[in-house]
């Protein structure tokens, strides 16, 4: 297990959650797994941040929750993107690209 853990700033976590949900609805555990995998285990989403973030995004109308059955036949709370959530994902992705490019550029200069 990779121990280099980076705590994500709130806004970034929201963005990653939206991204993790964009292919298909997922439950909380799967979202954190997916983020972990996609980041090649650099980012670990702590449950203490994940669930509050999910509830916050739901309240803002970016995602909506419904109860479904998981692979192992248990009832689980699935989250999916709403139209507003997709739009938000698009906007934030662009913003992130601009921001990270700018920061990278600054850091690269001597």
């Amino acid at each position: 297990m990779n121990e280099t853990r980076i705590d994500l700033p709130q806004g970034t976590l929201d963005l990653l959650i939206l991204r993790a949900l964009s292919p298909a609805p997922q439950h909380g555990w799967a979202i954190s797994e997916r983020i972990q995998q996609l980041s090649r285990h650099v980012l670990q989403v702590r449950q203490g941040s994940l669930y509050p973030a999910l509830h916050r995004l739901e309240r803002r109308g970016c995602i909506k929750a419904r109860w479904g059955t998981s692979d192992n036949n248990r009832s689980a709370k699935y989250y999916e993107l709403t139209t507003q959530g997709r739009r938000q994902l698009e906007v934030e992705t662009n913003e992130w690209r601009v921001l990270s490019a700018a920061v990278a550029h600054i850091l690269a200069t001597d």
């Binding site: 954190s32 449950q47 203490g48 669930y51 509050p52 916050r56 109308g61 109860w67 192992n72 709370k77």
Partner: protein, 230 residues
């Protein structure tokens, strides 16, 4: 926006259901994590211990979720009110003083407001009361304003002024001299019945708001002119 409201209301009124759901959701996560560790070859006990450790304080996570749902403002309010009531019960003397202070404050305020409302805010009980003005004379020698004038002057004002639809007045005895309907008020003995008739038809007679205003005016001994649309 609607989502926000719906979720907040649900969080407030269906609190038990919400709490249960949150409980289920977090337990599902924990169990899933345990299963993952077991699949990786950990013993059940070790896996559970590890997952728990990783999860952190469940109570804290729940608290953060509640906060994220926006339940807090309401819950905090309820808590504050409860606390307040408890504290007041514990110190009845202080509570009595507080209640008394509030009662006096509210009482005084509403008393003052009723006066201000009646005197300043509510329109006078006459038709087109916003057109009502007070006329007074000025003594050309002393330059002092005179709010009491002689009857002939009053008659002249009534006959010659063109700025007013009609002119009326009070005597210091509090009788309205209402003049728009041709009741020429002669300073004679016959005045009283005429005034009475005029008063009765136009203002509703004794006991009417006009009459009450009249007697209030009397104490200040001012005259009021009443332009009217009659």
């Amino acid at each position: 926006m609607m989502d926000d409201l719906r979720i907040r209301l649900r969080a407030l009124f269906r609190r038990d259901a919400m709490e249960r759901e949150m409980e289920d959701e977090l337990r599902f996560h924990l169990d899933h994590q345990v299963e993952k560790y077991v699949a990786e070859g950990m013993s059940e006990t070790e896996a559970r211990r590890r997952a728990r450790q990783q999860f952190g304080g469940v109570a804290q996570v729940k608290e953060d979720c509640r906060e994220a749902r926006g339940v807090h403002p309401f819950e905090t309010l309820v808590q504050d009110v409860r606390y307040g009531v408890r504290m007041l019960r514990r110190t009845p003397g202080y509570a009595a003083v507080a209640v008394l202070t509030l009662a006096l404050g509210i009482g005084a305020n509403s008393a003052i407001f009723s006066v201000v409302n009646a005197v300043l805010l509510r329109p006078l009980p006459y038709p087109q009361s916003h057109q009502l003005v007070m006329i007074w004379g000025t003594d050309s020698k002393s330059g002092r304003s005179q709010d009491a004038i002689s009857f002939p002057d009053f008659e002249d004002w009534k006959a010659q002024s063109r700025s007013f639809e009609t002119v009326g007045g009070f005597t210091t005895r509090g009788v309205i001299r209402r003049c728009s309907e041709g009741h020429s008020l002669q300073p004679s003995r016959s005045r009283a019945p005429r005034i009475q008739r005029c008063w009765a038809t136009r203002f509703g007679g004794p006991g009417s708001p006009a009459a009450r205003t009249c007697s209030a005016e009397r104490s200040g001994s001012t005259r009021r002119t009443t332009p009217s649309s009659a």
